[in-house]
Symmetry: C2
Subunit: 215 residues, 2 copies
């Protein structure tokens, strides 16, 4: 779900790995989604958010923070029943200049991850991959030989296990570098980190970095 | 300023390095400050926040987030005129359980660092050292041979230079690991990171870690 650079990067990487991917957007026949399917062969398709939710075994939420809740509200809950939903969204507010803030009502005492879990109550939301630039999500070896950390949280242990296995198998993340923070309320932390990530990115002038926890 | 574990750790390290340190608290003759001076020889003294502000060449704000603004408001501005104020505070709210939140009105569109700079308008506030456990602040070599990052921000370039030199000389931070994020508004990021730090700390069960930016 989502046709931006994160959605395109994830979708293209999964196609290259041999998977069938449907790119979902607000309405089917979205221009960016059609352009993407045109370049990615017969395993690539497109449809509405709900079409993609029904199609996918696993859903990747690659949505703009400000539109994410409306997007998931447009999904028929029956289409995500028991499914794992990998939530990459960030509730960033760039309207007041840099560094960005967190969208009103989506920070501090809640998070986009938690609110998405409330809307998709029959699914298992796992927050992950929201703390780094798109290019690195699918190619962690681009920095420090792949030795750096991802932070994962969610309420369902099996869904988190499935996401960890997927990240290792599809994108090459080292299993020991996937830090499980606990329940979905810990999305508050990983989302709140992102404006800080933007500050670091600006200071460096380059988004190709990540954090490694050292001890 | 401050008598808790951060204040005691910083003050003791500076005494060990041969400096004179006055520990400031809400009122002079604070029990914890007196106990600290009793153990730290004749270069250690104590007084009110304002006494310490008048005494110090550099001020270290090691205050509880919820009391920090009241503490700095009790300082006579003439006593900090042109001085560097190293702000280690975090506006954490533990009242609603874990992970902690950010205190009402002190996050997202402002930060404790910015509000302290507004109160101490004649001083140069530099936010630093607020992103790791006290023990590591003064002994970075305890993890990864000292190779990990600190984030610094503030509006005055000379004050930031002074803080960077102090961190290297007094505590052994590697100059290349001190990341200058820009103006004091970037304290929003380093403060917002701290509830995330708490989540990571809980997942690890140990506060002796830090982040290293890898590229």
């Amino acid at each position: 779900l989502g046709t931006g650079s994160v959605g395109q990067t994830i979708a293209t990487a999964l196609i290259k790995n041999g998977h069938e991917v449907m790119m979902g957007s607000r309405s089917a026949r979205n221009e960016k989604a059609l352009a993407w399917t045109g370049k990615n062969g017969n395993k690539a398709s497109e449809g509405s958010f709900d079409d993609a939710a029904a199609f996918g075994e696993i859903l990747f939420l690659c949505l703009n923070g400000s539109g994410a809740l409306d997007a998931v509200r447009s999904i028929n809950k029956k289409n995500v029943n028991g499914k794992t939903v990998l939530d990459l969204t960030n509730p960033l507010d760039f309207s007041k200049g840099m560094p960005p803030g967190i969208l009103e009502g989506l920070g501090n005492t809640t998070s986009l991850g938690e609110e998405i879990q409330k809307v998709l109550s029959s699914a298992h939301v796992v927050k992950a991959l929201n703390t780094l630039t798109a290019q690195l999500m699918v190619a962690p070896k681009l920095v420090n030989g792949g030795d750096h950390n991802l932070f994962i949280c969610g309420n369902d242990a099996d869904a988190k296990k499935q996401v960890k296995e997927l990240l290792a198998r599809e994108f090459g993340w080292m299993p020991e570098n996937l830090i499980d923070l606990g329940g979905i309320q810990n999305a508050r932390g990983t989302e709140a980190y992102v404006p800080f990530w933007v500050s670091i990115m600006q200071a460096r002038g380059n988004p190709l970095f990540n954090v490694k926890i050292v001890q």
